[in-house]
């Protein structure tokens, strides 16, 4: 499928910001099942310095340094991305999760640091002993790794409630686990903590998801949103994505922007401001499909 994504973020500050610096992850990266066709980022006011490159995880990143005093700040990213369905494979035929050690400690994979680094817990995905126990229910001895990952994603979907008011950016997963509520990045973090507690390679994916209006309703503008899910590694498939917020394996309606160990590595916009006082932010995301012949 081909998607057009418009992602607009508008900050308003109660007093002038003297300097603001932003680290932006908005340019979708190219991954196995996805090609980035076009991307543009408009920044207002214009930054004094704009650095574009790649972060430590290979994601495109922009660093902006705005030096003029301002009371509003707008970032508008437009991207066109083509996604394909992942390779069809029965999850039951993947390597047992407890045999991954053997796979990853043998040549040539033991040299593949890009897999091994995702086996390790980052500070925000550090599992508690309770989360380890929760994970073990899905990961019985000898169970194929992707089958178990699918099971874990579905259990999180069933056991936890989506509640944007229950948590914020800094809520630790131990709390999410306790109140059984949260948003997509909480569920992604929880799943990652559970997987990494068992040393299964798993990474955090930040991106967009196509939402469909209720039957008979027109699709509203600006109602889509950024989304977060996880990716799990198996020798048979490489990285394969799961969405614990929706309890599904990802097909071709998820658009990857970036991946890393957790939210902190790939947060869409993170800024440090001097001045500014209170701020409000409005975010509008539109994801629309494009037919090969024209916009549909």
């Amino acid at each position: 499928m081909i998607f057009d994504v418009s992602h607009k973020t508008h900050y308003r500050y109660s007093s002038a910001v003297v300097q603001s610096q932003h680290l932006v992850h908005m340019k979708p990266r190219t991954v196995t099942r996805q090609t980035m066709r076009h991307h543009g980022l408009i920044v207002e006011p214009a930054p004094a310095m704009r650095y574009e490159g790649f972060d430590a995880f290979g994601n495109p990143v922009a660093i902006l340094d705005v030096e003029v005093p301002h009371r509003e700040f707008v970032l508008h990213a437009r991207s066109t991305i083509e996604t394909a369905l992942p390779q069809q494979i029965a999850f039951e035929s993947t390597t047992p999760w407890d045999a991954l050690d053997v796979e990853l400690e043998a040549e040539p994979r033991r040299r593949d640091l890009d897999i091994i680094q995702y086996r390790c817990m980052s500070p925000v995905t550090t599992a508690s002993l309770e989360i380890l126990d929760y994970a073990r229910h899905s990961f019985a001895a000898g169970r194929p790794v992707l089958e178990a990952a699918m099971d874990l994603s579905q259990r999180i979907y069933e056991d936890f409630r989506f509640d944007a008011t229950a948590t914020d950016v800094s809520t630790p997963i131990a709390h999410v686990f306790k109140v059984r509520r949260g948003v997509c990045q909480d569920f992604a973090h929880l799943a990652l903590a559970a997987l990494r507690a068992l040393r299964v390679p798993a990474r955090y994916v930040s991106g967009y998801i196509l939402t469909r209006p209720a039957p008979g309703q027109p699709k509203l503008q600006g109602t889509d949103a950024s989304h977060a899910w996880i990716s799990v590694w198996s020798p048979e498939t490489g990285w394969r994505d799961f969405d614990p917020t929706n309890g599904i394996a990802v097909a071709d309606e998820h658009i990857t922007i970036a991946h890393g160990r957790d939210y902190n590595d790939v947060c869409p916009i993170s800024g440090v401001l001097l001045g500014g006082g209170e701020h409000t932010v409005s975010v509008g995301v539109d994801v629309s499909t494009v037919s090969p012949l024209g916009r549909g």
Binding site: Y11, S15, A16, V18, Q19, Q21, H22, L23, A48, M49, Y51, D55, A56, F57, I63, D65, E67, D101, R110, R111, L113, I116, Q117, R119, C120, M121, P123, T126, A127, L129, L132, F162, A164, D168, V169, V183, C184, Q185, A197, T211, D224, A225, S226, H227, A228, T245, N246, C267, P268, I269, S270, G271, V272, L273, L274, G275, G276, H279, V281, V283
Partner: protein, 855 residues
């Protein structure tokens, strides 16, 4: 134990007798079990035992005193609000012979080279991880491994600072128990210890031909200046601030090397440079000597909660990788888990055998090691693999399964299984023992030493000395020394030592570095301004209290100023809540005593002596790197919890008068020291402006309170006497007029006389002079509001006609004059703050968006 000491001086044997009978095991630094006193100790031991016991005790006491005065110990430099580590320095040093030192130097330098090579690889090609020399999961599980620094650190040039904690095991071999690659690891403590110790035992130091430290620090200073790439470099030592346990070391070192001491909020990035926010605007920084955790140095790209450096620093480092030393990210190689892998790494990276290995240790991320440890948990200590360096002696003790309940042990096992990659297990090693001095003689105390290595022009160089700390071998496996007993380390030389060169008096080449100290950060100006205000406020409050108590205690009647005293006390308590019951019915002298008690301790508003002292100590604490050690000492009375402060409350009026005299004397000493010793830079201007502003305000308030409305003649005389006393102008008045005080003359002396340092006009003129010299005075166009205000205040006073004012029965004009001053002076204070202290640029904060899609 048998020992033979043929050349030992008379009396030494008594000290040794107690040493031999004191408990202790492990390697004995002083005595060989067969040969007796080891040769390296003979000279040193002799020079100590030659002295009489009384002399030794005296010297030990002098060390204690110097430690306190220097501020290594808690009572001066530590944060008043947190309990702190004690610090003692033993009279007896640890002695290392030249032969052993040459070996240690070589071995420590090899360790530094190894750390350097490993860092370059981990943040560059990462071959050591790919080839399995270093377990990748060890590195990736450590939050000190900062991925954004990849490809930046290798361009930063070699590691600049390395430190290692060493212990000597029972078989006499040195082993590394911890490595420090993140910051300077408290080298300032070692330096301060040496300065104190040579002050007391310098003669013995010299006679034993021990090596001095100054050459090392000089080389360090030269090397850092060279590294910055600029001759007159502006070098900043970046500290987390006064709350940090290592702050003493930072201030001491910054002063010694002549670097600027800055905090994260003093800096900002702009384009590809880092700037210091000063009174004169932004000043470019050429080199940052990092004493903060790398993880917390850039909230933009690293830990979003870390504001110990300026946001965007890493972005700047991409273009200027040599800007920060040690380079950000360097802490990863101090991970304890690396210990077992170092011998192979040395062979592969350096092509050498590792001279100085770690003490036995297992990284619990390794499955085989984990199994071994879980099977042998009893004899081992489990600790974090990565621990911040912090203050020497504060390594965590770790978990000792031996002392745990069954449930706790089970929990520990489960945690090892889950978080193994972040833990190590260590064997308890025997620490060696060496003589510690106490009046009963020498006793055996086990210790470990921190040695410091720095990169200088000729490669790595080891500081010829170290910081030895006593440890408890039953519990410690690292430099964990909660009782803070330290010893200097003497490295004996075979060669003649050149005379002492101190960096306190820099040579011409290094003097240019010193000059940058005159730059004043806006934050420091703010602190000094308030230091001036609080010291004057404390002085005034104590004068009011003294004036009131004197009148009550001295044998006199109510007419002699009792009412005046009560009025003044009530003035300072004006905004306080009324006392529980009316005091009006009690006799006047008792009222005064009660008011005094409220003004001292009660929670009676912001102007009580206790609150004022608290404020005074707090700002002095914040500005303490700008104060001399002596200046600090004079303020120690005002430290919360000090006996002076705590005895104020329960004291009887007579004792109280003595205490107040003591307090006033300390403040006078502080002000005198500041006045005599502080360079007349902008910092001085703010300190002095703060004091002048406070004094002007207090004086106007007192005049308004005491003379409006007018009282009868007798009462007015006693009020005039009190005012003269409060304003410390009684003698001036008497020598000038030889008359009983009269209002016009007193007002002339205290309001208009610009030559009287206690007069209002003098304060205003001084403030005006300071404002004129400060930078950024907009010339020509319109006056800044601070300048406009001071002009208004001065003009209004200069135009006043005191004779007419005093004669006016209604005192309307005097009232208007004082009200104007009392209203505009606080406005002036605010205007100065707004102009100079960067209120618009409040603390940087972080903004993140969160994705909240509907499911």
């Amino acid at each position: 134990m048998n020992y033979t000491a043929p050349s030992l001086a008379e009396g030494g044997n008594d000290l040794l007798e107690s040493y031999c009978t004191s408990p202790g095991c492990g390697y004995d630094e002083l005595l060989d079990p067969v040969e007796g006193v080891r040769p390296r100790w003979l000279g040193v031991l002799n020079s100590f035992t030659e002295l009489s016991t009384a002399e030794l005790e005296q010297r030990a006491a002098r060390i204690d005193r110097r430690v306190r005065e220097t501020g290594i110990a808690y009572d001066i430099f530590a944060d008043p609000l947190t309990p702190s580590q004690r610090w003692q320095l033993d009279l007896m040093p640890i002695v290392i012979a030249s032969g052993e030192w040459r070996w240690l130097e070589k071995a420590l330098i090899q360790r530094a080279r190894l750390c350097d090579a490993l860092l370059t690889d981990l943040y560059g090609a990462q071959d050591t991880m790919r080839s399995g020399l270093v377990p990748p999961e060890l590195v990736f599980s450590d939050s000190a491994f900062l991925r954004p620094c990849k490809d930046i650190l290798p361009k930063a040039g070699p590691l600049r600072f390395y430190a290692a904690d060493l212990a000597r095991t029972a078989d006499g071999h040195w082993r590394v128990i911890d490595s420090h690659t993140e910051t300077l690891a408290g080298i300032g403590f070692a330096l301060a210890n040496r300065v104190v110790h040579t002050h007391v035992a310098g003669d013995l130091f010299k006679r034993n031909n021990a090596v001095r430290l100054s050459t090392y620090f000089q080389n360090l200073q030269i090397a850092l200046t060279a590294h910055s790439g600029r001759d007159n470099a502006r070098i900043a030592l970046l500290t987390p601030g006064p709350h940090h346990e290592d702050y003493f070391s930072h201030t001491y070192l910054a002063r010694y090397l002549g670097f600027l001491l800055v905090e994260g909020s003093d800096l900002r990035t702009r384009g590809n440079r880092v700037y210091l926010k000063t009174l004169e605007g932004l000043k470019e920084i050429d080199l940052i000597v990092r004493c903060v955790d790398g993880r917390l140095i850039d909230p933009l790209e690293l830990d979003p909660t870390g504001f110990e450096g300026p946001a965007g620093l890493l972005r700047v480092c991409r273009g200027t990788p040599r800007l920060v030393v040690n380079a950000v990210g360097s802490a990863i190689v101090q991970n304890r888990g690396l210990g077992p892998y170092l011998p192979r790494l040395a062979r592969e990276l350096l092509g050498e055998e590792l001279e100085l290995p770690d003490a036995p240790r297992w990284w619990l991320g390794d499955a085989a090691a984990r199994r071994h440890v879980l099977e042998n948990l009893d004899g081992l200590i489990v600790r974090k693999a990565q621990e911040g360096t912090g203050r020497p002696g504060q390594a965590a003790l770790g978990k000792d399964a031996h002392t745990m309940s069954a449930a706790e042990r089970e929990l520990l096992r489960r945690e090892i299984e889950l978080y193994g990659a972040r833990f190590v297990a260590e064997e308890k090693i025997g620490f060696s023992v060496a003589p510690a001095f106490d009046p009963m003689g020498f006793s055996r105390r086990p210790f470990a030493v921190r040695f410091f290595v720095a990169r200088t022009a000729d490669g790595f160089e080891v500081m010829p000395g170290g910081l030895a700390m006593s440890v408890d071998p039953e519990r410690a496996v690292a430099l964990s020394a909660p009782d803070g007993h330290t010893r200097d380390v003497w490295v004996l030389s075979d060669e003649e030592q050149s005379p002492h060169v101190s960096l306190w008096r820099p040579k011409l080449e290094s003097a240019r570095v010193e000059r940058s100290q005159r730059v004043i950060q806006s934050r420091v100006a703010d602190d000094l301004f308030w230091l001036g205000r609080y010291s004057e406020r404390a002085d005034w409050t104590m004068r009011v209290l003294r004036g009131a108590l004197r009148r009550v205690e001295e044998d006199s009647g109510p007419a002699d100023g009792w009412r005046a005293a009560r009025t003044c006390l009530e003035m300072l308590l004006r905004n306080a809540e009324a006392p529980a019951r009316s005091v009006r019915e009690t006799p006047l002298d008792m009222q005064i005593e009660r008011l005094c008690a409220r003004l001292i301790t009660g929670n009676a508003g912001p102007r009580t002596l206790e609150k004022t002292c608290e404020g005074l100590y707090r700002v002095a604490h914040l500005a303490r790197d700008r104060l001399s050690f002596e200046g600090w000492q004079t303020l120690s009375k005002f430290r919360p919890g000090d006996t002076w402060l705590t005895s104020l409350g329960p004291a009887q009026p007579v004792e109280l008068l003595d205490l107040l005299e003591g307090g006033l004397a300390s403040l006078a000493a502080f002000n005198g020291l500041m006045h005599e010793n502080m360079t007349r830079n902008f910092g001085w201007s703010f300190l002095d402006m703060g004091r002048r502003l406070e004094r002007a305000y207090n004086l106007c308030e007192a005049i308004q309170t005491l003379f409006i409305p007018a009282s009868d003649a007798e009462e007015e005389t006693s009020r005039l006497l009190l005012l003269l006393e409060l304003a410390d102008s009684f003698i001036t008045y008497r020598s000038r007029y030889r008359l009983d005080p009269s209002l016009p003359l007193v007002l002339d002396l205290l309001l208009l006389d610009e030559s009287n340092p206690r007069a209002l006009a003098y304060q205003l003129a001084a403030i005006s002079t300071h404002l004129e010299t400060l930078p950024d005075a907009r010339q020509g166009v319109s006056l800044a509001s601070d300048r406009r205000l001071i002009l208004t205040l001065m003009t209004s006073i200069r135009l006043a006609d005191v004779v007419a004012i005093a004669d006016e029965p209604s005192r309307t004009t005097l009232g208007r004059l004082m009200r104007e001053q009392l209203q505009l002076l606080p406005e002036l204070s605010n205007a100065v703050a707004q102009h100079y202290f960067n209120l618009t640029e409040d603390a940087p904060h972080r903004v993140q968006t969160r994705s909240d899609p509907r499911p």
